[in-house]
Symmetry: C2
């Protein structure tokens, strides 16, 4: 399987998820379906996962998904978030996505393709060796001065030096906003991010020129596609990353 | 002029603004047009204002607009934000709106109609004596416990007790999210909000059952439709407002 296959599969999965969830009324989306591997599963999560797996399990893939853990068999590992931004999807806020990260091993560092799709707006981000939004190459911003930066930060514990802070509630899309240079950094050091929340967006941002490290400045390549894996992420351009790490401490 | 006239005028203005700005490429939207009454005017701000005024100045209205100050003559005052969430509009993030607040005097307390329209998603909020979203009556949430609350907060200066914090970058729409109960509170105590940013959303939220006060707990009715007027806003349901004020201090 190569990046071209992964793109085809990702697109098919995204369209399938979109078709399944958009017609659902908000109240129906919000119903509690049960308890998945990583917490409460809302009805919309379940529908999204079923739709994505319907596509993915026809392929030779070992899929780690938010709600059900590992399913399928194959040499290629996929970290799937069938619906990132469930809260937004339930509230009708147009900021929720499908996210897929394809790796040749169970480690993030062997990723060769990543895909994020905004289900409400049809914006498509992906990366193989380069990063794209709606088919056009993207790259990260170049700001070095924190006071000029537009930041996404979960959650500031003290006053922060940025020009703007935004928190949209979908890490997959927010990391892509950094990839395309719309925002200058993404910071989440709560120890709560999961591998399927952010691996695709981080890979896309890296291929767009960003640096992604944990709160201590360590690279994230050794992170595994596992339900229990937790990530802290500081994501920005090369120039700003050191200042951000000093600030986060 | 009554609320029915105000609704008709608002809808016409919103459609006119939408038609003018949505076709603009993001790069064109972002160009700096000049310096308006309240800071830098981007091209998209100018286009939005021209489009709104084209509609509003055919009516007997005294319009206070973000970019140009007071224009027009009439007994009814309108606080107009032709484009709230300019940053989002420029970045392609689907969270930006037109906002209009109609008052029988130059004070907020004589407001009789308010209108907020998400230009990217076509969601329509308005209030006369009651508050509506897309034609259906809305009301604020009923949560009292801060740790259960979904909050919009510009910007936390210390760790906060909420379940979620979000910052979307359009006060007009965010106050409407509180009005419809999607979020539990909106807090901005930076001393930076302007009357045209939030008066419409606050009126809609109040008519949906919310309480809006400044950071000291004072009501906002005496606020004037003036470019120089600045607001601090703590907006939530009746049960939570006192706890929020204690927290903000």
């Amino acid at each position: 399987m190569d990046a071209r296959d992964a793109l085809r599969i990702s697109r098919e999965a995204a369209k399938r998820v979109q078709k399944a969830i958009l017609p659902l009324p908000l109240k129906k989306r919000a119903e509690i379906y049960g308890f998945g591997k990583s917490g409460i599963t809302k009805f919309v999560d379940k529908v999204a996962e079923d739709a994505a797996l319907e596509v993915l399990l026809k392929e030779k893939l070992r899929v780690l998904s938010e709600e059900c853990g590992y399913v399928g068999e194959g040499d290629v590992f996929v970290a799937l978030d069938p619906l990132d931004g469930t809260f937004n999807a339930v509230k009708g806020i147009p900021f929720f996505s499908v996210s897929l990260c394809f790796s040749n091993s169970e480690k993030f560092r062997d990723t060769f393709f990543a895909y994020v799709y905004n289900l409400a707006t049809n914006e498509e981000f992906f990366a193989d060796e380069e990063a794209f939004k709606n088919g056009e190459k993207i790259k990260v911003g170049e700001k070095e001065d924190l006071s000029e930066m537009d930041a996404i930060y979960y959650y500031p514990k003290k006053e922060m030096p940025f020009k703007r802070i935004r928190i949209f509630g979908s890490a997959a899309l927010e990391t892509c906003l950094v990839a395309e240079g719309a925002f200058d950094c993404f910071i989440d050091v709560r120890g709560m991010l999961r591998i399927f929340d952010v691996s695709a967006g981080i890979y896309i941002a890296e291929k767009a020129g960003a640096i992604a490290v944990d709160e201590k400045g360590n690279p994230l390549g050794e992170k595994k596609f596992e339900i229990s894996e937790r990530l802290n992420v500081v994501l920005s351009n090369k120039l700003a990353i050191k200042k951000l790490l000093e600030m986060v401490l």
